[in-house]
Symmetry: C2
Subunit: 186 residues, 2 copies
């Protein structure tokens, strides 16, 4: 999956591993985290697969750059991945895992848990405003609306997810309060 993310970015233009890292950190981190160590490793395997090429660029004042570019085979693979609709809905959710077993804690502890969740579990580190700013910048700098539209879709998803999470927490708290006050009637 990370492989194809990298291919997608290189399809926009040539980049270094470092730049790829910054894009993941600044723009994609709300749905995917990638460490430099993993990126550089994937770059090696991508090159072995013949999907990307690297060109050493010497610099005086800075360390040498390794400028990556996508190959024809890489573009083919990217297209194949996009067309392929095998998308498993694996929600691997640590949050659900922790919720499932909360019967071991007291009701008051759990009310506290759900109260703190929306803050702690925010998708956008700096809150929602950041997302709007990001998308505006994208649309200013990248004229191709065909691309920015889909970028916006991912942010919409993030915002809707956050909203849903807050609603769910409120529901949980309400039900716990009801249970506490003896109102166990369905």
């Amino acid at each position: 999956m990370l492989k194809h993310g990298i291919l997608g970015l290189l399809n926009y233009g040539k980049m270094t591993g470092y730049e790829i890292m910054t894009v993941f950190r600044d723009s994609l981190s709300f749905f995917w985290h990638a460490q430099t160590s993993q990126i550089y490793r994937e770059l090696q395997t991508l090159e072995k697969s013949g999907w990307i090429q690297s060109a050493r660029i010497e610099q005086e004042s800075r360390p040498d750059k390794n400028l990556l570019s996508i190959t024809r085979d890489g573009k083919k693979e990217l297209a194949r991945w996009l067309k392929d609709d095998g998308l498993k809905s694996v929600i691997r959710s640590p949050l659900m895992m922790k919720t499932f077993f909360r019967g071991e804690c007291s009701i008051d502890e759990n009310i506290e848990f759900f109260k703190n969740l929306p803050e702690q579990n925010s998708v956008f580190p700096e809150g929602c405003k950041k997302a709007d700013l990001l998308i505006n910048e994208y649309q200013k700098n990248v004229p191709d609306r065909m691309k920015t539209l889909y970028w916006k879709f991912t942010m919409d998803f993030g915002l809707m997810y956050e909203k849903m999470l807050r609603k769910w927490c409120k529901n949980c708290i309400r039900e716990l309060e009801e249970f506490k006050h003896g109102n166990t009637a369905d």
Copy 2:
């Protein structure tokens, strides 16, 4: 994370690796997938950590059982994990990754993509009814409402997530249709 899921299950009572696998497959799979191979491996490391114990039970007509039980240290660790509020909101979402780069495909292809998504990406394999049935069964068989309440919360989350996903897809389709018909005004 899987380690603690296993600890949580064994905290309800003694089980074999096989039974743990069936619980993950039948009840927890909508938020966590666990293969037998991984479960048996984790069981080994859990035993090495002193968090669980195993007792070989010989059977005549079936292979021997390895009945696992949680130890005092295991219970401590489970409690620690539940109390610890370090919950990173890592949404590792293949769906978002694929959405982000869809600018490479045609608008019509992408409308098709979003139309098919809710079916393909359903959290509950057999649809929502299954979830309701599951929760009702839980509440009948397990008298401890303190537990089933939290189980219900996880299912509520699954149902809300599905609803949100459908809404998001509808939004995306609407915006793509608008874009197609030249209505690019914000």
